[in-house]
């Protein structure tokens, strides 16, 4: 039992940090100039896109490794769709036993599928229902992955322009009744595989949100030490210290639960992995909005302007909270999972 990152995992976190401006944004103006192809190539070049590729049935990198990358990219507000288009897409294709070329193309950065979620954002869309859905990831792609029953399918685009609240991760709504051209990929997923994939999805979204929250809080702590009011740094006001202490604690706990969930991805039974992931997501869902609101509050007037970074953090956190189910959604599932685990 040694729940700390290994030296290799520390190194991985450093690698993600060192990509810096190539994959992330520091202020909203960076978004217009963001070079998606370059960012994707940078991630492919460092081998980060193919972390979940299986070699002899074993993923190249553990759930903890992918979590560290997701957290690092969240902290940098990366518009690169690592989570949906690389880690989760590859995991889904591997669990379905898809052909190697499909998977290798994603790992090499040549293909960037989106994921089609149900309109409530709680999981992959089942296109049998004809309810449309919401596309995440796949910013510059013409296809997405979804389900037809338990069968993974490749849905052919184009899907129309992205939009939505999160300026760093665009979503595309597909109207109910839209004709979708889909072809099956690999074998139908077992219930166990669905659980494993869902656990990874929840864990990575939680990690992304934890990273973004932590970076936002770190930023506002620094700001509070510089910003003078009434002749003193506002960091000296106890009212603000308490807000920040609570936000910091919430972030620490988010990192902790997410770390356990990430560890459980490969090391625990699917039901335990799913319970751990839903627990992490429930915590993140409970605290995230409050944390980003606290950050905006402490920045004061400047934090309410479009040109300031704080709403970019907030928007990312709001989408993360909703992806794969908000707090209440998780709590409903956790109640039953707990009894199943016993």
């Amino acid at each position: 039992m040694l729940a700390v990152p290994t030296p290799e995992q520390e190194l991985l976190a450093d690698t993600v940090r060192s990509l810096g401006a190539a994959v992330g944004v520091r202020n909203p103006q960076d978004l217009d100039a963001f070079q998606h192809e370059k960012a994707w190539a940078a991630l492919a070049g460092t081998g980060l896109l193919g972390l979940r590729v299986r070699d002899d049935g074993q993923p190249e990198a553990s759930g903890v490794d992918v979590m560290i990358v997701a957290q690092g990219l969240g902290a940098q507000l990366s518009p690169a769709p690592f989570l949906a288009s690389a880690a989760l897409a590859i995991e889904l294709l591997e669990l379905a036993g898809a052909d190697r070329p499909l998977i290798d193309a994603i790992a090499a950065g040549d293909a960037q599928p989106g994921l089609l979620l149900d309109r409530g954002l709680t999981g992959l869309a089942d296109i049998t229902a004809g309810d449309g859905g919401v596309l995440i990831g796949g910013v510059h792609s013409d296809h997405a992955l979804a389900l037809r029953g338990n069968q993974v399918v490749r849905v052919q685009g184009p899907f129309g322009p992205g939009g939505g609240a999160d300026l760093t991760s665009r979503t595309t709504r597909i109207a109910p009744g839209t004709e979708l051209s889909a072809t099956g990929v690999g074998e139908p997923l077992t219930p166990e595989a669905v659980r494993r994939w869902t656990a990874l999805a929840l864990t990575l979204v939680s990690a992304d949100c934890a990273g973004a929250m932590r970076a936002a809080v770190d930023g506002v702590i620094e700001y509070s030490k510089q910003r003078i009011a009434y002749g003193v740094p506002i960091a000296s006001f106890q009212a603000l210290q308490h807000l920040i202490a609570d936000a910091f604690t919430a972030c620490e706990a988010a990192v902790t639960t997410t770390s356990y969930a990430a560890w459980a991805i490969d090391a625990a039974e699917p039901v335990e992995a799913l319970l751990a992931a839903r627990t992490a997501k429930a915590w993140v869902g409970a605290v995230a909005r409050n944390v980003v609101e606290t950050v905006m509050q402490i920045y004061g007037g400047i934090g309410q302007t479009w040109e300031h970074i704080s709403h970019v953090y907030a928007r990312r956190a709001l989408l993360d909270v909703a992806l794969f189910g908000d707090e209440n959604y998780q709590l409903d599932q956790i109640f039953d999972l707990r009894r199943e685990v016993g």
């Binding site: 700390v4 030490k225 429930a282």
Partner: protein
């Protein structure tokens, strides 16, 4: 990053589990008195296991105390005594050879049960404002004052007492640690009934209590750093005892909800699941923080974060009892149990340094935000 037992840890856990199962089968373990349970654990080698060999322990990493508390909770046995770890270690570090010879062995084996005389009516989170005084008269210290929240004082043999011995020194430099036999004339213990209706703690009165001059721990006026040193061991493994208790409480609520079919309501299911999440967060936080200690990382902000999460977990369970039973709880349909559980959870954001003090500490000491 590994949350799983190493082969050595797994072997230890298996041995411990088997021992606990045998014990429960043979002796009805949970029914033992605190002292007997302490002695039983000691005889089996589980007390002081994480002390260094030099201190008389086995030098095991602190994660073994995690496993110990987890397994003891799993067996539904009484919690692992916390005193040996934090008071025993303190006596080892600061005591004279004579004090070590007198206190260490019985502290480990449970012959001496300790209470902690820190808080006072006017000195809680602001502990250094304490007024209980100790005066050296001839070859005796004479102690006068009042202590509050002296938990387990009524069943303790000795008290680890803080008192002001240097009235003219600055407030942090005038405090000393005294080791006081609770049978000394002038010590009065009175149980305090807390809002949940039960007597969990005590207040103690010290009227001309005369103890030998040699019963001071460390030097005169040097008590504050000793007390702070002791408290760092109160956190960590001790928190895991808290987690075990909270998980037990959650199972009880779960069973009640099932038995009375309250869990048909989505709101009730959510309230219970919410408490589970908050307790699990505290649980995992303890494991992560202890792992950081094993890895040699400095504690940093761990103390305040752990205490804040502790209060969140405990009070979330209290809220879940109230919310799950709703009007049933408020009208006494359950013999007042839920309301009692709720009130039992309230002091968790007050004792051991209030939540507000923890936030001050976190911001000012660890996040570099200045004091005004």
């Amino acid at each position: 990053m590994d949350f799983l037992d190493s082969p050595e840890e797994a072997e230890y856990r298996a041995g411990l589990r088997a021992w606990l199962e045998r014990l429960t089968a043979e002796h009805d373990g949970p029914g033992m008195s605190t002292r007997d349970w302490h002695r039983t654990l000691y005889d089996a080698g589980y007390i002081g296991q994480t002390w260094t060999v030099e201190e008389g322990g086995k030098g095991l990493p602190p994660t073994y105390d995690v496993i110990l508390t987890q397994e003891v909770a799993r067996a539904d046995a009484p919690s692992v005594p916390a005193n040996p770890n934090y008071l025993g270690r303190t006596i080892f570090k600061f005591g004279t050879e004579e004090q070590k010879a007198k206190f260490l062995e019985p502290t480990l084996n449970g012959d001496i049960q300790w209470c902690q005389g820190f808080s006072e009516p006017g000195a809680g989170s602001d502990l250094a404002s304490m007024r209980t005084r100790a005066e050296l008269v001839g070859d005796e210290w004479v102690i006068n004052g009042q202590k509050l929240w002296t938990s387990a004082a009524h069943e303790s043999d000795w008290c680890f007492l803080l008192a002001r011995s240097e009235p003219d020194a600055p407030r942090h430099k005038g405090i000393s640690v005294f080791l006081v036999d609770m049978k000394t004339p002038g010590v009065t213990v009175r149980p305090i009934r807390t809002t949940d209706g039960h007597e969990h703690t005590c207040e103690t009165f010290w009227d001309d209590v005369r103890i030998p001059a040699g019963n001071i721990l460390g030097r005169r006026g040097g008590g504050w750093p000793i007390a702070m040193w002791a408290l760092q061991f109160e956190r960590g493994p001790a928190d895991l005892g808290i987690v075990a208790g909270l998980l037990k409480g959650l199972h009880k609520l779960d069973a009640y909800a099932r038995e009375h079919e309250l869990d048909a309501s989505a709101d009730v299911r959510r309230a219970i699941a919410k408490a589970y999440v908050d307790i699990r967060v505290l649980d995992l936080n303890s494991v992560r923080q202890l792992s950081n200690r094993v890895a040699g990382h400095a504690p940093g902000s761990d103390g305040p974060v752990a205490k804040l999460l502790w209060a969140i977990g405990a009070q979330s369970l209290g809220h879940a009892w109230l919310d799950a039973l709703g009007p049933l709880a408020l009208t006494g349909a359950d013999d007042g149990h839920a309301v009692s559980e709720y009130f039992y959870s309230r002091p968790s954001s007050v004792y051991g340094g209030s939540a507000q003090i923890q936030r001050n500490l976190l911001a000012q000491r660890f996040l570099g935000m200045p004091r005004t």
